[in-house]
């Protein structure tokens, strides 16, 4: 469904992504893990069209979407739930959901009801300003907002960042649930353990390059991954 080929991204002189290639199959969950500054967010933001690539190609459903503008990319069915949630704090929860559906022309009432079923907490807070929600609630809102665009591929950048363990479990359950409704997931995470557990396929990124790949299980059992990302020693 998504093919990233030899992607290079520079910020001025800094090479943040140096020839990354990976594929995301339709219906799967793919995780990218890696340390701080490895280039994970940069990769997602480039796919979303926020940053321009300097070299390489990105194909979505057979067409190159490289350096298309973000609006066009969202329209083609890719959304990014950004790092740090980035909900619109001075808008109500419901307005945040509406703006997630910005490009849609069909009726969204049904979808809002579905979202409220999936995230009951948001239903109770429908008219509350998003800025006054707790961190966990904001993350739910950010995911819900991304879902409102009816994506085929949903990218999530560190959805568990700064959340309590219980809420983290909750988020991962929701990601699985979304995947089961047929949405393909590309997940970036620091929480490697959880990210590998739900992944069909996973990639390890180090300083802008992919250094390992395999199924979630394979990487969970890999000694190098264990010591570097799972905090386990032999």
């Amino acid at each position: 469904m998504l093919k990233v080929k030899n992607l290079h991204v520079n910020f001025g002189g800094i090479k943040a992504v140096k020839g990354i290639s990976f594929t995301v199959d339709k219906g799967s969950i793919v995780s990218l893990i890696g340390a701080n500054g490895a280039g994970k967010s940069t990769t997602l933001r480039t796919i979303a069209g926020i940053i321009k690539a300097s070299k390489g190609d990105i194909e979505f459903e057979g067409n190159s979407i490289l350096n298309n503008d973000t609006s066009k990319i969202v329209k083609s069915g890719i959304t990014l739930c950004p790092e740090g949630r980035r909900v619109f704090p001075d808008m109500s929860v419901i307005d945040n959901l509406k703006i997630g559906a910005y490009l849609r022309k069909d009726s969204i009432t049904d979808d809002i009801n579905k979202i409220y079923e999936m995230f009951p907490i948001l239903k109770h807070r429908s008219w509350q300003l998003a800025g006054t929600l707790s961190g966990g609630e904001q993350q739910m809102l950010a995911v819900a907002r991304s879902l409102m665009a009816k994506p085929k591929l949903m990218m999530l950048d560190e959805p568990s960042l700064g959340l309590a363990p219980l809420v983290v479990n909750n988020i991962f359950d929701i990601i699985k649930e979304i995947n089961q409704t047929g949405v393909t997931i590309l997940l970036v995470e620091q929480n490697a353990n959880k990210a590998l557990k739900i992944a069909n396929k996973a990639y390890v990124i180090e300083t802008g390059e992919i250094v390992m790949e395999g199924t979630g299980k394979e990487l969970l059992n890999n000694e190098k991954v264990k010591s570097a990302y799972l905090g386990k020693t032999k």
Partner: protein, 291 residues
């Protein structure tokens, strides 16, 4: 007493025109974090467009033409002078705005000379009206009503339309807004369009009671409306509205008691006091710098 009330009506009327212009400053600031120094001059150009169009068309045609032409002017200025500087430091785009301001003034001088040109009388607006023993004219009565009506429409647009939603999102967070599929540049154009439309309406109401336009007629009102926007809390629409009325009213009353010479200085004294007491103005949000 009668004199005082009549002066109040005049003040409220000027204040309404100021409020319409102040909203333009506040909208553009909200979305670009830019003080659009050319805004007052757009207001002045709207005056000339009106003079030009009424010379050729009846009033009911020239008013819409003026509004549309001013709207286009605002959008084009943004595209030509500000858009190319989107990623440049904020100071550069500010300097560009000052440049546009001077350009419009010089261009108007070139086309129309520095002498005041007569503003076409809009008889309907000039009509004398008596309310009890108060004498006033249609423009003075209509200005605050039109102002408040337009502000209500604007608030409705911001709250209930997609364009409004996108304007609020872009004002807050460019990147998150584009991730929703919003085209940032289009949203910025809508903002300039709305701001310029309000300036055109403000210009018609303002110049009707002044009878002439010259190339610098935009600078003082422009500055005052900027002050009004800061007074109310730049970025806030209710703030700009109240700021506009407040400054219009104070200035007129000061003139009425015989201190005309100081009425302009007064505006700036207010700005300084407000900034000392409440750096974010009456309704200002805490200044959160864009990420």
């Amino acid at each position: 007493m009668q004199y005082f009330l009549e002066q109040c009506l005049i003040g409220i009327s000027i204040g309404g025109a100021y409020a319409l212009i102040a909203i333009g400053y506040t909208l553009v600031y909200g979305i670009l974090r830019l003080i659009n120094f050319a805004h007052g001059d757009i207001f002045m150009v709207a005056g000339y467009i009106m003079i030009f169009t009424t010379a050729n068309f009846p009033i009911y045609i020239s008013i819409p033409i003026t509004i549309i032409a001013t709207c286009i002017l605002g959008v084009v200025i943004e595209k030509v002078a500000y858009k190319p500087l989107r990623t440049a430091p904020r100071m550069s785009i500010m300097i560009s705005a000052i440049g546009v301001s001077y350009f419009l003034q010089n261009f108007a001088t070139y086309l129309f000379t520095a002498l005041p040109s007569n503003y076409p009388p809009i008889y309907f607006l000039k009509k004398q009206i008596h309310i009890g023993y108060l004498k006033t004219n249609m423009a003075d009565i209509l200005t605050p009503i039109i102002t408040i009506l337009l502000v209500l429409i604007l608030i409705w647009i911001l709250k209930h339309t997609k364009i409004g939603l996108s304007m609020r999102a872009v004002s807050r967070d460019y990147e998150a807004a584009s991730l929703m599929g919003i085209k940032i540049n289009n949203t910025i154009s809508y903002t300039f369009a709305i701001g310029s439309i309000l300036a055109a309406v403000g210009s018609i109401l303002y110049f009707t009671n002044r009878a002439s336009v010259f190339p610098y007629s935009g600078s003082m009102p422009g500055l005052k409306c900027f002050v009004a926007a800061v007074f109310g809390g730049i970025g806030s629409i209710p703030g700009a509205l109240i700021g506009g009325f407040f400054i219009g009213l104070c200035e007129t009353l000061i003139k009425a008691v015989g201190y005309s010479t100081f009425s302009d200085a007064f505006t700036f004294v207010i700005l300084i006091i407000v900034l000392l007491l409440r750096p974010t103005g009456l309704f200002g949000e805490k200044i959160i710098d864009k990420v």
